[in-house]
Structures are given as structure tokens and as C-alpha cells.
């Protein structure tokens, strides 16, 4: 069944590439509905990316090669990450090469490159964004790792698909530790993907922005790759959440076309629900001051550590 595994692998990456902008569009649409606005088309992120690809790139005079390379690195790492996360099937050839810790490392690589690129031109906005991004990252990254650790202690492996398979195939057991982890993970997801209440993806107000401040110098295809990369990151995080907390429906074991027939609609359903949930969170909460972000993230980290503690104490 090596061929089937390879097919799943490619299918998963392609699906992530295709679905990520739609997912972002869906979140935006839900948000608009909840806020009594006329919703933009679900295809809007696509049109945006297409438009950006056709434009001429303008880059600052003193930008170094690092600045031009960063979008490709960010996009590439996000695509590889999509290949590791079991969104549809758990038998993925690429997974042997990178477990969940490597996945966190991949996200860190992307973050470091975005931040370095933001510092490259040497504007006030760029460095400000980089500093804030790293501030968010240094607390979010260990929190994510702790969340993954709880799941890996439960299933005695750090390979994400194996964790997912273990949790999916179990007779419905209740894990109090995973409940804490789920809270922590949600907070990390919000912070890492520049969503309200940590960052506002729709603002360009210097006092509040983090992610957009770093992209300010980018244009055209570089910006398109960065935007697409950001959409992929959101998609990837959603899929990590599914793999850890709602793994049901994912094709486990030997793959057949039947497994995928269940897995694809299941993924679509989960994405639709998660997107709506994200829109609700973003609508009911207010953007907090940047100074408060560390507290928010520290609580995420503590929730994750609490989850770990609950696991080692209760063994569940």
C-alpha cells in the first residue's frame, strides 16, 4: 500500500494548499455575518493572492537577499508542516522524518525567518513587529509543545499521526488532561495566527498590529506567498487541533479509498465548525493591549503545564 500512502501524502498537501485560503475566507465570512456586515465572497483570499502574483514587486533599496528568500522559506515550511499533520490519513510517508517536536520546530523556523525579514529593511514598524512576534512566540511555542506532550504521554509516542490514531481508535475515553490542553491550544492558536484578542488581522494601526507590521515592506508575489503561508498556518493549526482533540473520522490503518471517502467530508465538517467557532471567539472578545499579550500567553502555557500535571497525577 505504499502507493496509496504516497497518494494520501500528496493529496493532503494539495488539499491544504487549496483549502487554506478558502478556510480563511470562511472565517471572514462567518465574522461578517456575526457582525451584521455583508459578507465578502469566500473566494476573496484567492482573488487577493492572484492579484498579488500579477503585480510588480517593489522592495526596499537596502533589502538583503534574506528579505527575498524569507517568503519562500515561510511558505515552504508551512507546506511541509501540512504534510506532517494527519488531516485525512494517519499513514503518511513524510511523517517518519518529522515528529510533533519537529513540527513545532518548523513553526519556529517560519517565525524566525519572518522576524528576521521584518528587521532586514530597518524600519520602525518592521522591528516593532519582529519584537512583538518573538514575544508572542516564545510563550506560545512551549505552550504548544506542552499540549503535544500531554497527548504523547497518553499515547507513548511523539509522532503526530500515531497520537491521532491512538486517540481515534480508542474506546471513547475521557481525558481530563486533554481538556486543559484544549484550552491552552485554543489560546495558542489565537495568538500564533494573529487573531483577536492578541492581534487583529484587519488592522494597520501601529499601536496594535503584530503580524501586519512585519509584512509592511512586502509586496506582490512575496506578499502573496506570505499571505498564503499565513492562511496555511491557520489551516495547519486547525488540523493539529483536530488531530489531538477530535481525531474521529480520520483514515487510520491501511488506507483504502473508503477511508478517504469518510475522511474528506469529516475534515470539511470539522473545518466549517472550527471556522465558525473562531469567528465567534473573535467577535465576542476585544483586542487587548499588546502589553497584556504575555499574560494571555502565560496563562496558555500554565494551562498546558496544568494539563501535563493532571496527566502525570491522574494517569489520564
Amino acid at each position: 500500500m505504499r502507493l496509496a500512502e504516497l497518494v494520501t501524502q500528496v493529496l493532503e498537501i494539495v488539499a491544504a494548499l487549496v483549502a487554506a485560503p478558502i478556510f480563511l475566507g470562511w472565517v471572514n465570512q462567518c465574522r461578517a455575518w456575526l457582525q451584521n456586515r455583508r459578507a465578502p465572497s469566500i473566494w476573496l483570499p484567492y482573488r487577493n493572492i492572484r492579484k498579488l502574483f500579477h503585480k510588480d514587486a517593489v522592495i526596499a533599496e537596502n533589502a538583503s537577499p534574506l528579505f527575498r528568500a524569507a517568503p519562500y522559506v515561510v511558505f515552504g515550511t508551512m507546506v511541509v508542516a501540512a504534510g506532517i499533520i494527519p488531516s485525512m490519513g494517519t499513514r503518511l510517508p513524510l511523517v517518519a522524518a518529522a515528529d510533533a517536536i519537529a513540527l513545532v520546530g518548523l513553526f519556529a523556523t517560519a517565525r524566525v525567518f519572518v522576524s528576521l525579514a521584518a528587521m532586514d529593511v530597518g524600519t520602525a514598524f518592521g522591528t516593532l513587529g519582529a519584537r512583538r512576534e518573538m514575544m508572542v512566540g516564545f510563550l506560545a511555542e512551549p505552550a504548544l509543545l506542552m499540549v503535544i506532550f500531554v497527548a504523547s504521554l497518553i499515547s507513548a509516542t511523539t509522532a503526530l499521526p500515531a497520537i491521532s490514531e491512538h486517540l481515534a481508535t480508542q474506546t471513547l475515553g475521557l481525558y481530563p488532561s486533554l481538556a486543559f490542553s484544549a484550552i491552552a491550544f485554543t489560546l495558542v492558536l489565537l495568538a500564533e495566527n494573529a487573531r483577536i484578542p492578541v492581534d487583529n488581522p484587519a488592522t494597520h494601526l501601529e499601536l496594535t498590529m503584530i503580524h501586519e507590521a512585519m509584512l509592511l515592506e512586502y509586496s506582490a508575489r512575496h506578499l502573496a506567498l506570505m499571505e498564503w503561508g499565513a492562511a496555511l498556518k491557520l489551516f495547519n493549526y486547525a488540523c493539529i487541533g483536530f488531530a489531538l482533540f477530535v481525531p474521529w473520522g480520520v483514515a487510520t490503518g491501511e488506507l483504502g479509498p473508503l477511508g478517504l471517502l469518510v475522511a474528506i467530508p469529516a475534515l470539511a465538517l470539522k473545518l466549517a465548525l472550527a471556522g465558525a467557532g473562531l469567528a465567534v471567539i473573535e467577535t465576542v472578545s476585544a483586542k487587548m493591549r499588546v502589553m497584556r499579550a504575555p499574560e494571555f500567553l502565560a496563562s496558555a502555557f500554565l494551562f498546558a503545564v496544568l494539563g501535563l500535571l493532571v496527566h502525570v497525577m491522574l494517569g489520564a
Partner: protein, 627 residues
């Protein structure tokens, strides 16, 4: 230069016998009835490999670097440099306490002279003094440790110490003394204070040697004493290095994030990394004592791997700062910037080191971090309740340190090499010479290779783990490109495949973008919000970039600052971020010592009559006692 190079080569050639018949030699040196015993076993081979691999790069760099003068006569500098390297080699080969101490002390003293190369500067003299002081406090502890270890046999060869069966209490004391003595050299908190002073004071290749290699010898010392000389240590000993290591790692990285001097920043980062190495060591002792050999071997290999990694990447970064220092004359991050355009070689090679130390895959820093975290995941199976709950929390701290290391490295690289030059004089900065390039490239290559071929490295380190914990490298039987140390689980990491996948995806993206779209590019000025007055001073300084960390971890620092009021006509802002341990422990201690010395000084009158009186009184008292 040829001598230096061959020096590195010889040292690197030795580990070829790794795992072969143990090599011994008795040198007819030293005191008449105390010859030096030498022995090459897997543990010392592994550290000799570390010494040789990093010295090859550092010496190459130094050959170019010292041609452009650093204050001292090059001849003298060369002598001290080689004495330093040679004594480090002897420390590793020594097989008796006497030879070990002689080598250890010559290492301390030669490095003291290297630190104070620019002895005309008062700060450097005082940095050297603190270094020498703490080095000797440590040496006394090590000496006492050997005194305990001989266990009444009065034989000071390591063989005799292995034979001596110590009472558990004495063994624990020996271990404590070893932790104290070697911890002072390693820079474990609270004995770390010399490190951020001495490392910046030394010339950069020397900083690289001290940080990259000398600190690892302290790890070697603890490994030698606890695993080899004392035999199998009880599990609870491991808690000390574990807890101290975790705290040191965290303390170091938090301080690194707020530094404004690039070499001080790296010195604090070294404290962090040595903390991580001790964490692994402690974990290994705990596992071994609990009878879990596989996790013990895993943690031990994580420690050794981390030492090896850190030797290469920290040397690389220190040498990079040396080049920057030569090119610009600046150590202050606030006066650098934009050097990637002026010094592309240094910048790109340093970037490799920075990404490696930030623990990003597929470079080497990630591998040791991965191994350490994997060994933490076994901690819930330790058969001691409560401990098995607390130790997994350490994984959280390790992860936090790793993420903060990323923060520190973005700051380090971004402020020095990216952005706009903060001073006009930086326009004259020049790239480093060919010898320096080779040195940097050698170390960078080491970082990449250690990252890409972990299976081979671990197979090599297996002999050490077999010697110390009785289990050869875990995870045999996996394919050569796949690191799978835990046979039971399905845990694996294949850096080569990982790199290939990422490269293929990136290459495909580049290709597709080129194929389907145009590749026009225009250069324009940076977006200035329409004001047109953008200048280099608007970028974050090093203080600015570290500000979130300073705010979050405020209670760690001793902060003095002056914040100007908005109505100030000539506003001034300054901030001093100090170490609470220095102010709270060392300064009061120094005051007490000073007072005591003052009291003793009362005896010293400076008149010969008084001294004669002292002699007379002493004689009378002695006579009185004798009668």
C-alpha cells in the same frame, strides 16, 4: 599556522580508536614518585573530538585574526593560546588526580592571561580577577573532591579511586564537591558571575575557546566523577544537576535577552546552554539510579550531543562577533546594524550558527534538544512518586528556554547584521580575511553536518554511553537516515528527508512562481508613512528589542534607570540591568572579606621593631607551651 592546524588534526585523529582497546601511558614527568598517568577511553575521546573539531576552526580563524593585533605581543599570545589548548587536552587525558589538577590549573592560569590580554583596561583587569578567583575556589573544591575520592588509600590514580568503595555519605560529599568545583568552571548559577565578565574581555578566539570548549570540560569533569569514579550514582543525586541546570538555563537565557553588548549576550547564552547540558546529565543520573538504562543512555547522549553542538555553534558565533569587532570596533549592539551588506561572509555563516543555537531543524541544535525532550518523556515512569510528576514539568522549562533562545538569536543577528547601519562609520566595515572565512565555514559546516547525520554521531557516542551507563547507543536497526532512539514507540526524526522535503517544496515554489508569473522587481525606498524622515535611529535598539523580556521577567533583574519627564529640556534616558545574585550575594560577601582583611591589616604596622616584637612574643608563647 601550520602548527596550529596540525594541532587540531592530531587531536581529531585520536577518536578513531573510539571504543578500541583502552590506551594508557605513564609519563615520567611530575614528582619523583608521582608520575602522570594518561588514559584514553571513550569518554575522553568524545571530548577530545569536541576539542579538536572546534579548535581546528578557531585556530584557523585566530591565525588570521591575531595578525591584526589585539594589544599583546603575538608571540606571547601564541604561547598562552597553545598552552591553553594543550592543557585542555591534558585535562581530558589525565588518569590521576595529580596530573588532572596540574592540567586543570595550567588551563585556568593560561586562560587568565589570555583574558587579560588587554590588561591596560581596568574593567578587563577586574574581569580577569573575578575569573581567577572563582576558578580557584572551584579548583579547591575539586581538590577536596579528589581527597574524598581516594577513600583512605592515599592512592591518587583514577583506578584506585574506582576501586575505593566509599560510604554513601562520603560519596555524596564527593559528588557535591565535584558539582561545586566543576560548576564554578561551568558557570552554573549562582557561580556564573565570572562568565559574562571574562568572556567579553577576552579576544574573540579566546572567548570561543573558553565558551565552546573549556565550559564543556566542566561537564566532562562531572561525568568523570559521578559516572566513572564513583560508580553507579544513586538516583537522587541527579536532582541537583537537574534542578540547578534548569534554573541556570532559564536564568541565562533571560539575561541574554536583555544584553546590549554582543559578547555578553553570547556569554549569557553559554550559561543557558551549559544549564541544558547539566539538565541532561542530571536526568541521566536519575534514570540510571532508577534502573532505566534506555532513558539514561538517551539523556546522556543528549548531554554529550549538546556539548558537541554548543562547542561548534558558540565558537562560530563568538568568532563572528570577533570579525564584527575588528571591522567596526564596536561591541555595543546599539551602534551596529546592516552589516549583512558589508560583511556577507561573516553574516551568512553566523546566521547558520544563530539558527542552530535557536534550535531550528534541520540544524544541530535541534537534534540535542529533541533528544533531551524525548528523554524527558520517560520521566513519568520513574518509580518514585512525586518525582515522576515533577520532572516532566522540566520539559516545559526546557521548551521555554529553547523558545527564548530563538528570541535571543533573532535579536543578536537582527540587530547586528540586518536593518540600517546605526552609525555612519559602519560604511567602512570590511569583510573578514580568507583564513577567518575558512575558520567560520569549518564551524558552520560542523553545525550542518551534526544536524543532518545524527545517527552516525550517536553511533559514535554509543561507546561513551556503554562505558558510563552500560548501554550502547539506543535505537540500532533503524535505517541510516532515520534517528529512532526509542525502539518501542514509533518516534523518529530524519533530518535529511526533512531537509529534502523542505528544499523540494521551496524549489518547486520558486520554479512555479517563475514559470507562471513574471519576475519583475523594482527597488524603492522603504515605506515611511509619507513623512519622508525615516532614519536608522528609528529602528529598535538592543534595549528596545529586549524590552518585553525585561518587563515580563522584571523580578529577575536589578534595574536602575532614569526616565526623563516629558517637560525635560535635555532629556536623558539610561538604564542599567544588573544581576541580583551579584548585588545580593557577591557584593555583601566582598564587603565582609574586605572588613576581615582590614582587621588583619591592623597587625601590619610597617615597622621592623613591631615585627620583631611579634616574633619575640610568638617564641615566648611557644616556649611556654613546650614547657
Amino acid at each position: 599556522m601550520i602548527i596550529r592546524q596540525s594541532h587540531g588534526r592530531i587531536l581529531r585523529a585520536q577518536p578513531a580508536e573510539l571504543g578500541a582497546e583502552k590506551e594508557r601511558l605513564t609519563l615520567p614527568l611530575g614528582l619523583p614518585d608521582l608520575p602522570f598517568h594518561l588514559r584514553l577511553d571513550p569518554l575522553s575521546s568524545a571530548f577530545l573530538l569536541l576539542l579538536g573539531a572546534s579548535c581546528a576552526g578557531i585556530s584557523m580563524f585566530a591565525a588570521g585574526y591575531f595578525r591584526r593585533g589585539e594589544g599583546a605581543a603575538p608571540g606571547l599570545l601564541c604561547l598562552q593560546y597553545h598552552l591553553f589548548v594543550a592543557s585542555m587536552g591534558f585535562v581530558l587525558l589525565a588518569d590521576d588526580a595529580y596530573g588532572f589538577m596540574v592540567a586543570w590549573e595550567s588551563m585556568a592560569i593560561s586562560s587568565y592571561f589570555l583574558v587579560t590580554t588587554q590588561h591596560r583596561i581596568a574593567e578587563i583587569r577586574s574581569a580577569g580577577f573575578i575569573y581567577l578567583l572563582i576558578a580557584h575556589m572551584g579548583a579547591i573544591a575539586i581538590l577536596l573532591c579528589f581527597g574524598v575520592l581516594q577513600g583512605g588509600s592515599w592512592q591518587f590514580t583514577f583506578d584506585a579511586m574506582r576501586e575505593a568503595r566509599l560510604q554513601p555519605g562520603w560519596a555524596a560529599i564527593a559528588f557535591l564537591l565535584a558539582m561545586l568545583g566543576f560548576g564554578a568552571k561551568a558557570g552554573l548559577v549562582p557561580l556564573h558571575v565570572w562568565l559574562p565578565e571574562a568572556h567579553p574581555a577576552a579576544p574573540s578566539p579566546v572567548s570561543a575557546l573558553m565558551s565552546g570548549v573549556m565550559l564543556k570540560l566542566a561537564v566532562y569533569g562531572v561525568l568523570r566523577v559521578s559516572f566513572d569514579l564513583l560508580g553507579e550514582p544513586p538516583w537522587w543525586w541527579g536532582l541537583l544537576p537537574l534542578v540547578v541546570g534548569l534554573f541556570t538555563a532559564f536564568y541565562g537565557v533571560v539575561f541574554a535577552a536583555v544584553q546590549t553588548d554582543m559578547k555578553r549576550l553570547l556569554a549569557y547564552s553559554s550559561i543557558e546552554n551549559i544549564g541544558l547540558a547539566f539538565t541532561g546529565l542530571g536526568l541521566s543520573i536519575v534514570f540510571l539510579g532508577a534502573g532505566m538504562r534506555l532513558p539514561a543512555a538517551l539523556a546522556l547522549i543528549a548531554t554529550l550531543y549538546h556539548c558537541l553542538n554548543h562547542a561548534l555553534m558558540k565558537s562560530l558565533l563568538f568568532l563572528g562577533t570577533g570579525s564584527v569587532l575588528h571591522a567596526t570596533g564596536q561591541r555595543n549592539l546599539g551602534r551596529l546594524g546592516g552589516l549583512i551588506h558589508r560583511m556577507p561572509w561573516v553574516a551568512w555563516l553566523t546566521l547558520v550558527g544563530a539558527l542552530a543555537i535557536a534550535g531550528l531543524p534541520p540544524l544541530n541544535g535541534f537534534v540535542s534538544e529533541w533528544l533531551l525532550l524525548q528523554s524527558f518523556l520517560f520521566a513519568d515512569q520513574i518509580p518514585h512518586s512525586f518525582i515522576n510528576m515533577l520532572i516532566p514539568m522540566g520539559a516545559g522549562l526546557v521548551a521555554l528556554c529553547a523558545a527564548l533562545a530563538g528570541y535571543v538569536m533573532v535579536k543578536f543577528f537582527g540587530v547586528i547584521f540586518l536593518g540600517q547601519p546605526r552609525e555612519a562609520s559602519l560604511a567602512q566595515a570590511h569583510d573578514c580575511g580568507p583564513l577567518e572565512r575558512i575558520g567560520l565555514a569549518w564551524l558552520a559546516l560542523g553545525c550542518v553536518l551534526l544536524g543532518l547525520f545524527p545517527v552516525q554521531v550517536i553511533a559514535g557516542l554509543g561507546a561513551v554511553s556503554e562505558q558510563l551507563v552500560g548501554l550502547a547507543s539506543p535505537g540500532r536497526g533503524a535505517p541510516w537516515w532515520l534517528l529512532a532512539p526509542v525502539p518501542a514507540g514509533r518516534v523518529s526524526y530524519g533530518p535529511l528527508v526533512f531537509l529534502m522535503a523542505t528544499t523540494v517544496v521551496i524549489a518547486l515554489t520558486v520554479l512555479l512562481v517563475r514559470l507562471f508569473y513574471h519576475q519583475r522587481i523594482r527597488r524603492g525606498s522603504a515605506w515611511d508613512c509619507g513623512y519622508g524622515r525615516l532614519n536608522a535611529r528609528m529602528q529598535d535598539t538592543a534595549e528596545g528589542f529586549g524590552q518585553p523580556i525585561r518587563n515580563i521577567f522584571q523580578s529577575f533583574f536589578w534595574i536602575e534607570r532614569e526616565v526623563p519627564s516629558p517637560f525635560d529640556r535635555a532629556p536623558r534616558y539610561w538604564i542599567i540591568i544588573g544581576d541580583r545574585i551579584w548585588r545580593g550575594v557577591y557584593e555583601p560577601l566582598a564587603t565582609v572579606v574586605q572588613r576581615l582583611a582590614d582587621i588583619v591589616a591592623l597587625l601590619q604596622q610597617g615597622r621592623i621593631a613591631v615585627y620583631l616584637l611579634y616574633s619575640f612574643v610568638t617564641l615566648v608563647v611557644l616556649l611556654g607551651l613546650a614547657l
